[in-house]
Subunit: 131 residues, 2 copies
């Protein structure tokens, strides 16, 4: 994984979205998806969504990550659906106002990945200390 692959996305902020905001085009999807390669586009109730499952070693770590994603959601006023369970968190980003995918969703997906990478780095350091 390149350290810089999603730098452009993670450093963006969400822009306000309205029902007439532009949906991501096919061309844009082809350009942006490779920048968040662990994410998939799924369709739920006719609405395309970005989804990724993050793995954790227990429930507490999963819930901690859910809260970290919640923090950026509040900061950007753009909110995902987050499924928390023992050992895993599924995050789904889409833009309600346009019933589809906006550049914002790719920005938030990349920011979520950065949070996960940071949490795994912290975990690795904690494991080192306890070894």
């Amino acid at each position: 994984m390149s350290d810089t692959r999603d730098q452009a996305l993670t450093q963006e902020r969400c822009v306000a979205c309205r029902p007439d905001s532009p949906r991501a085009t096919e061309q844009e999807l082809r350009e942006w998806l490779p920048q968040i390669p662990e994410w998939h586009v799924i369709e739920r109730e006719g609405v395309p969504q970005l989804t990724r499952t993050y793995k954790f070693k227990n429930f507490a770590d999963a819930l901690h990550f859910t809260n970290k994603v919640g923090e950026i959601a509040e900061a950007e006023d753009h909110h995902p659906q987050i499924v928390t369970e023992w050992g895993a968190v599924i995050v789904r980003w889409w833009t309600h106002a346009i019933k589809g995918l906006h550049r914002n969703d790719f920005v938030m997906a990349a920011k979520s990945d950065a949070l996960y990478a940071a949490s795994q780095g912290n975990r690795a350091r904690q494991d080192d200390r306890h070894a």
Copy 2:
């Protein structure tokens, strides 16, 4: 809603569950479900689960409730799937070890309801103060 209807369930603790622990019988389902009337039994991937959707006025309140449910899950070492989104939390309880419903799940559903009732009480008092 009776104040005492789920008192018996909420005051129980979870018991350790093993693959040979007893699934709830049809008779028990008929007896226990009326004690948690807002919950439904759904089947997902062949596994019956208790599910309830709780409503909130924003994302932060929903995420706060997710954390409260997470606290009792950790305390009882019995973990649900929790779906957090703007204005709603879906909680699903089932028992992985028996791929089905155990008395524990009804106990946890009742405890979740008690947390929700408490959170709505706090909300009402806050609204009063700000009125």
